[in-house]
């Protein structure tokens, strides 16, 4: 038997692509959570509201200092004991989203800190309401600056989705593993799975790099 069987490879491709759709769905939904929640964290931290600030700080530290896998297991196996049962898909989205939110919040923070003090002072001089200061002046300047860094986190997230096979999410690598265990042929499924990641990640990181260059020249 050859090391690489093209017929088998084409046979399993539709199943793998179908699983890839799940991977992409989790990535995109998880990104929405990570990008929005990270922004909320960053702004709340900046407001320095007593107690809430310390709670947020502790939460971010705990999430960053523990493995994503433990967090996912916690959401999937421990939360049901407290009456909260989430599907594996939802745990994937929430787990990845919250985990990465703690990283994106740092990215946003850096972007916000880079806004010159004079911009805040001009807002005060115009008596702008606080919400408008954020939505009209600070964030429209801070967020474009950090888009490349945020993009890199979305790509990392995409590559972390296979971790969810631990709770039975049928994403690409899990699908490849199952196909392999049916036929005892592992070369094709894992190779294709890897290639699929490469085919999406590489262009995505090229795009991020272009964004970065545009920021530098702009």
């Amino acid at each position: 038997m050859p090391v690489w069987d093209w017929n088998y490879a084409f046979d399993i491709l539709p199943d793998l692509l179908l699983a890839l759709v799940t991977t992409i769905e989790i990535t995109l939904l998880g990104s929405v959570v990570a990008l929005l929640l990270g922004l909320v964290f960053a702004v709340l931290r900046r407001l320095r509201i007593p107690v809430l600030d310390q709670v947020l700080w502790a939460f971010v530290e705990v999430v960053r200092s523990t493995p994503l896998l433990v967090q996912v297991f916690f959401l999937f196996f421990v939360l049901p004991q407290f009456g909260v049962t989430l599907s594996a898909f939802v745990v994937g989205v929430v787990g990845l989203g919250v985990h990465y939110a703690t990283y994106t919040s740092e990215v946003y923070r850096a972007g916000i800190d880079a806004i010159p003090k004079g911009q805040w002072e001009a807002c005060t001089a115009l008596s702008l309401p606080r919400l408008r200061v954020w939505t009209g002046v600070i964030l429209p300047q801070a967020v474009p600056r950090v888009l490349p860094a945020l993009g890199n986190y979305v790509i990392s997230m995409f590559k972390e989705v296979p971790l969810l096979l631990a709770i039975g999410v049928v994403e690409v690598v899990n699908e490849a593993r199952e196909l392999g265990s049916l036929t005892f042929r592992y070369t094709e499924p894992y190779t294709i799975a890897g290639l699929l990641f490469l085919l999406l990640s590489y262009p995505a990181s090229m795009l991020v790099r272009r964004l970065e260059r545009r920021r530098v020249t702009a």
């Binding site: 010159p116 001009a122 001089a125 115009l126 606080r130 408008r132 300047q141």
Partner: protein, 262 residues
Amino acid sequence: MSPPDTSEPMIVFDGVEKRFGSNVVLKDLSFTVAPGEHVTLIGPSGSGKTTILRLLMTLEQCNEGTISVGGRYLSHEERGGKLGPPREKYLRDVRKHIGMVFQQFNLFPNMTVRGNLCEGPTRVLGLSKDEANARAEELLDLVGLKEKIDAHPTQLSGGQQQRVAIARALAMRPDVLLLDEVTSALDPELVAGVLKLLRDIGDTTDITILCVTHEMGFARDFSHRVMMFDGGRVLEDAPPEKLFTEPDHQRTKDFLQAVLAH
């Protein structure tokens, strides 16, 4: 220029002290400014001139004493006859009547010139888009930049940016205008245009203007009063004709000599 009305002061500093850590920037400072008066603050760097403007804009809070503008406290909030720390909402209301132009312009780079001028009037004063727009066009005409209304700040020269910043402050129809070294960051050839604009504004409006500047020629013909600061205190407070020609203090003489020599 007719001397301004001196009945009810527009600005009152009463026993104000401002410290940054252990560094006392302003000491027991008391003075008043009448409505429509133009006052220029001069003095060596670190003498606390800019701090006075920043206190008035509520960018800083004073440690002792009280500050009021138009009869309302800026440093405190009156509640049930007692003075307490001011709340953000109260401050926003009081400082609506105060405008400031900064050394570094501080235009919003994410907005066009029009956006910069309409932001305050629509978001704070509640003007409609059309009203704010009309006001923006009128003010840009005044500052000679009508054709730049849809430009972005980054496409403008420093002098143009500063004129837009002045227009932005005026769009709020302030009672008090604070000018913080507004020509210091400009290339020398752009300074005259901005100063001319400020003279026009001084001549045609009754806005109370407080100005920190190193342009002594401008200070002399723009101000009704010049206050010389040194070490956080008012060393001398006199009409420009007197202060620039026969100051009472040797320290003032030395300072003027040093500034005019360069």
